[in-house]
């Protein structure tokens, strides 16, 4: 395939698109699918076909990827095919609404279904999600129609591997899998490493329970990830890639499998890609339910068919990874940023975000928040704007208590830090971390000790068991936290807990153990009074814990915690 051929496909795809007068886009990603949006799409298709002879207008019904606002599903976006930006978004569409919806095409939108969500979209900048909800993820040509694979062709025909890496470095892109390691630097290490065979691995294990950005990208825009991996393969000199997807995401696996086939058929994977000598192909490997396999050395062990146990680094995978070969591992979202950077240039990307954290980040906004779903915001946006602006704040008149980021490795951020502009460093400063992008809002019905215990239980059951601090330390900390929740702990227990946090954090073999104490440390930092209430007064202010919640009014005045 040459760039002319690519343009031709793009033109045909777009001509196809514009041949219809209207289009009806139905979200068939997991969230809406769970509300039978696939059947809804069939009904819409039948209704549109029936209406066509009457109205003389052609209407195309398309199944698309995630439109962001999963809680309001099923979502349908309709309007003129020529102007996707001016379409109307409908929420909570049922079979019974189909007739009205099709009839309204070209006329006034159906008011009762219209999602009034200007606030939700205000301030969002879709880069990773730019195609999500606009294309049929199973049609490679629709991706090409939206500038897909231009970046790969540009890289292969106009750029040396070195220039590709320079562009990625200059863009300031950092790893979206949690650590925030500069992507360009990682690529250049792998490029420089000696080895006849090198590998590119896409980490799609998305272990953070409460995050679904990667799933959404894989389901909604799979070609984007493939293109990013191929560009990376070219840049570092690898001919073979793996996508490691968790088994809990069957739909993502199916979509990815068929997308790989389509890319091969179009000559965008395989030998002599775009008429050059570059060869690259990708295989899928299934995870099997182990959080620790998101850690890069454990992931490699798992691809090798072994127990997913990490090993000490160095050596880093960039030097000695899969089967001892230099291996590049990046997260799904990291790869999804690659094509736009190559296409539009590093300067454009670096103009978005803060000094050290460039570009956008996708967050999965969930918990006690009005608008749950996926949001993509520029780095540097204050947390308050995400939660109270885009997210619409805490529902049911309850009071905001904390927002949890970084998953089991992260922490809880209280109200006082909500004006914090989001960046890798800022989140670490307040005792949390960026993580993969889970953002869980809690109100005053959540007990922070209980939340810390929840994460510790998670780490305990997900510990691989190889090193002693993580294996036995998480179990001991879990017991201590349970004791506190049950109102049976002493101050000595709390001291012991704090000591264990320090030991486990500093002596564990891999990131799981090193960060397992974080939820405890961050809740201790901001909500120590809740710990003390459990210990001194057997009181859980949220009324969640087993020690019960003796109403504060029953405590003598001297006892009332500050």
């Amino acid at each position: 395939m040459t760039s002319e051929e690519l343009l031709q496909i793009a033109e045909e795809a777009n001509a196809d698109r514009e041949a219809s007068d209207f289009e009806v886009n139905v979200c068939v990603a997991l969230g809406c699918l769970s509300q039978h949006s696939d059947k809804l799409k069939d009904t819409l298709t039948a209704e549109a076909a029936a209406a066509s002879p009457r109205t003389g207008k052609r209407c195309h019904v398309r199944g698309t990827g995630c439109m962001g606002l999963c809680a309001a599903g099923p979502l349908v976006r309709v309007g003129s095919a020529a102007d996707a930006g001016a379409q109307t978004l409908y929420a909570g569409v049922r079979e019974g609404d189909v007739k009205a919806l099709i009839e309204s095409l070209g006329g006034k939108p159906v008011e009762r279904l219209t999602a009034h969500l200007d606030q939700y979209f205000r301030g969002q900048i879709p880069i990773v999600l730019e195609n999500s909800g606009y294309i049929d993820p199973e049609k490679i040509d629709e991706y090409i129609g939206r500038d897909g694979y231009q970046a790969l062709i540009k890289a292969l025909t106009e750029m040396s591997p070195q220039t590709v890496i320079e562009q990625i470095s200059k863009s300031g892109l950092r790893g979206r899998g949690g650590g925030g390691y500069p992507t360009g630097l990682k690529w250049s290490t792998v490029a420089k490493a000696v080895g006849a065979q090198k590998y590119v691995i896409c980490n799609a294990d998305e272990g953070d329970p409460g995050a679904f950005m990667d799933r959404s990208v894989l389901e909604s825009d799979p070609q984007r990830v493939i293109e990013g991996m191929a560009i990376a393969g070219y840049a570092v000199g690898a001919s073979k890639g793996y996508i490691y997807v968790r088994a809990e995401y069957p739909l993502a696996v199916t979509r990815m499998t068929s997308s790989l086939r389509d890319a091969r058929r179009r000559g965008l994977l395989g030998n002599n890609i775009c008429g050059t000598t570059f060869a690259f192909d990708i295989e899928i490997r299934l995870g099997a339910g182990a959080f620790v396999c998101g850690e890069e050395t454990a992931l490699i062990a798992s691809i090798e068919g072994l127990r997913g146990q990490p090993r000490p680094r160095p050596p880093y995978p960039a030097v000695s990874g899969l089967w001892g070969s230099p291996t590049l591992i990046n997260n799904v979202e990291t790869f999804a940023n690659v094509a736009p950077i190559i296409r539009k240039g590093a300067e454009w990307y670096a103009s978005i975000g803060t000094e050290k954290s460039k570009g956008t980040k996708v967050f999965a906004l969930t918990g006690k928040i009005t608008n749950t779903g996926l949001v993509e915001i520029p780095m540097g946006m204050p947390l308050r704007e995400i939660i109270f602006g885009i997210g619409g704040g805490v529902p049911n008149g309850r009071k905001f208590k904390a927002v949890q980021t970084g998953g089991p490795s992260g922490g809880c951020i209280p109200e006082e830090h909500l004006d914090l502009p989001i960046s890798y460093e800022a989140l670490i400063d307040v005792g949390s971390m960026m993580g993969s992008g889970g953002m869980i809002v809690m109100d005053d019905t959540s007990c922070m000790v209980n939340v810390a215990r929840f994460f510790m239980e998670f780490c305990m059951t997900e510990s691989c068991g190889k090193c002693i601090p993580c294996r036995a330390g998480t179990a001991q900390m879990y017991q201590l936290l349970t004791k506190i929740c049950d109102g049976k702990a002493s101050h000595a227990d709390l001291d012991l807990l704090i000591d264990l946090c320090d030991v486990v954090k500093n002596t564990s073999l891999c990131g799981l153990g090193m960060t397992a104490p974080n939820p405890v440390l961050s809740t201790l930092r901001y909500f120590k009074h809740e710990y003390m209430e459990h210990i001194d007064h057997q009181h859980c202010r949220a009324g969640v814990c087993a020690c019960g919640s003796k109403p504060l009014s029953e405590l003598s005045q001297a006892e009332v915690p500050a």
Partner: protein, 237 residues
Amino acid sequence: MSAPVDVKTLVIDGVNVSGSAGQTVLEVARENNISIPTLCHLDGLSEVGACRMCLVEVKNSPKLFPSCVLKVEEGMEVTTASDRLKHYRQTILELFFAERNHICSVCVANGHCELQSTAQSQGLTHVRLPYRNPKLDVDASHERFVLDHNRCILCTRCVRVCAEIEGAHVWDIMGRGIDSMLIADLHQPWGESSCTRCGKCVQVCPTGALSEKSKFGAEHPKHPEFLPYLNMMREGQ
């Protein structure tokens, strides 16, 4: 004169030492009579870096490194003993003791146990953590040996010696996290497994988890030091 390029000079605990590229900090330290406690390491076996006893500080890094896998580098400055390391090592030992059921006075390995001797050398006097005391099996199905899970610290020396030296790979670990457990073949009784009865695993076990039947305490010295000789002999062949 051409300087041999693969010699690295470094400082361990203030002493100038040298080692060759590819050597670990632990090896070089021991060559220079600097002792670092270890449990999962055994000369002659691959390294796993799991017991964390050998952690050391490296100047200009906030992270600690397991010296059994850390390769020497030119100009490195290593500290193997500090108050911080001492506290970490003691707490890790506590975690080991409290994980299962280690009561030295009633253990077959009393007096010949590396967990016990390491605790002594590290100055551990009591365990602050509650013993978990899981009720675990004792497998006495083998005609010569016994496996007592209550004394196992999951160092995987037995797994490695069986796979790497004996070539039988009878042992492995099942489950994960706190539920990890040593198994023979498909989680079968040891006596019914494909065990070659060589006894190497018993020799390398640092505690009383693997022992010879009918031997107790003083009668039960182990000889894990046979491995380097074995490897040397093999290489010489």
